[in-house]
């Protein structure tokens, strides 16, 4: 029994209070928010142009050590290239980054995909929190995966590492539901303010 009537009152008041919680963005199974963003060459990229294709969004920041580690081990570029053969579109998005850094980074790593420049609106629409943060949109324009690139924030899991994006892509390409649609992402914080 609670210690006092007052505690009971507090408990009940709290329970019946208006239940509001921050609606989370980028809900699995719901329509992925559309956007048009410029790439590092200023060319506009409109997500809806890719309707009917599987699209991977990768939140990126060239200054982030997590991103740097993945680019040194070619995690994203290998996946993007391999799955491009199967028609998967890959778009990197940098929120409030430096466009010149994006160009330099893209050249240095010979990126087979563009880095789109976002001022925070698209990150907010998807609920992107980290770099990297991965989202996969299915052929119907619905969000099919949101979360980390893998389960290995420290980069030390070796053979125990699970690449969630690869698994999700394999599921989608074989027409089965994504077995792990949502995971916790890790990385540096997305820069919502300059």
């Amino acid at each position: 029994m609670p210690k006092s009537l007052r505690t009971v009152a507090v408990l009940l008041a709290a329970l019946f209070a208006t239940q509001s919680f921050a609606a989370e963005k980028g809900e699995i199974g719901k329509k992925a928010p559309n956007f048009t963003l410029p790439d590092q060459n200023g060319r506009p990229v409109n997500l809806s142009n890719y309707h009917g294709k599987i699209v991977v969004l990768e939140w990126i920041n060239p200054d982030c050590p997590f991103v740097q580690r993945h680019y040194e081990s070619k995690t994203m570029t290998t996946l993007a290239t391999r799955y491009a053969d199967k028609g998967v579109v890959w778009l990197a998005i940098n929120t409030n980054g430096d466009p010149r850094k994006n160009s330099a980074f893209a050249s240095h790593h010979a990126l087979p995909y563009p880095i789109l420049q976002d001022s925070g609106e698209v990150a907010k629409a998807y609920g992107a929190k980290t770099t990297p943060h991965m989202f996969i949109i299915d052929r119907n324009g619905k969000l099919a995966y949101a979360g980390g690139i893998d389960n290995d924030p420290n980069g030390d899991k070796g053979p125990d590492r699970i690449n969630y994006v690869q698994k999700a892509l394999d599921d989608l390409l074989s027409g089965t539901p994504v077995s792990t649609p949502e995971t916790k992402s890790y990385g540096c914080g997305v820069k919502y303010a300059k």
């Binding site: 007052r6 509001s20 997590f66 949502e182």
Partner: protein, 288 residues
């Protein structure tokens, strides 16, 4: 390693448009210390890694929050010595733009562990202790760092050392609710999967407290949001409310979510109490 005098160094401007914005000065200075100047067989003592962090930067708690990386310390002692678990003092909470929540430390932190020597020591020489530390230090950018630290202590009467430092940080290590005279009541509804709209934890202290903060443990399967803390009436009670959601496709395997309620006591000392939040079942209520 002896504490070093702070060095005034010229700092490369982080906002420079040129190549990598990596600062040139040491962001984190790390030292391994003990609260004794010698080791007495059978007498437990504490070791600690003191991290001194560049102003404006932070390192992370055991649960870094939405981004970042937990600070890790692995202490090593010779065979026969028992090394207890790493003790994280109560952190602070950073709220970054975009509702990105972080938990960690500014300025300084002492990360400790208890060490128990065996009842007899064969050697007469010094005892080597070491610590392997990894951190991620962030401000506008994040810079990983690490240190391999060592400390050698003679065998002796275990006289006190670094007393002020260890006394300052010891109270900040969270304790069990019973040890703090704290009672916890929890109320909330959850479906079988552990999805919950709103969870309420009422913490009652034996005396008035201030600046209550709540820090959940890390979870791979739960998303926690909308944390609100409301002090009640006479300052002995705090109502902590938050929402939990199981990530799509994930399964809740744990019955409880460990967490820490941090507070400042009547003497102005920052402390913490462990709070295990039940995750399953309806309207669960408990007090230890």
């Amino acid at each position: 390693m002896k504490p070093s005098v702070p060095i005034l160094a010229v700092v490369t401007a982080l906002a420079a448009a040129s190549a990598p914005a990596q600062p040139t000065k040491e962001l984190v200075k790390a030292e391994l210390l003990a609260d004794v100047s010698s080791i007495k067989p059978g007498d437990s003592f504490s070791v600690g890694v003191l991290l001194r962090i560049e102003k404006g930067w932070h390192v992370y708690w055991e649960n870094p929050g939405d981004s970042g990386l937990a600070t890790s310390v692995k202490f090593t002692a010779p065979p026969g010595f028992e090394v207890g678990p790493l003790q994280y003092p109560v952190p602070v909470r950073f709220d970054q733009p975009g509702s990105i929540v972080g938990y960690g430390y500014l300025d300084r932190v002492l990360l400790t562990a208890r060490v128990t020597p065996p009842p007899t020591l064969q050697t007469t020489g010094s005892i080597p202790l070491s610590a392997n530390v990894h951190w991620l230090c962030c401000e506008k950018v994040c810079v990983p760092g690490s240190a391999k630290l060592s400390l050698s202590l003679p065998i002796g009467d275990a006289a006190s050392a670094n007393k002020e430092l260890f006394d300052e940080w010891r109270p900040r290590v969270p304790v069990d609710a019973a040890a703090a005279g704290v009672t916890i009541n929890s109320l909330g509804s959850a479906d079988a999967a552990g999805n919950v709209d709103s969870r309420i934890v009422i913490v009652t202290w034996p005396e008035e407290v201030k600046d209550v903060q709540w820090f959940p443990a890390a979870s791979d399967v739960l998303s926690i949001s909308a944390v609100e803390i409301t002090p009640i009436d006479d300052g002995k009670v705090a109502r902590i409310t938050f929402s939990t959601r199981v990530l799509d496709g994930q399964k809740l395997t744990q019955d409880k979510l460990p967490s820490v309620a941090a507070y400042t006591d009547k003497q102005g000392i920052r402390r913490g109490v462990k709070v295990d939040v039940p995750l399953k079942g309806k309207a669960v209520r408990f007090s230890p």
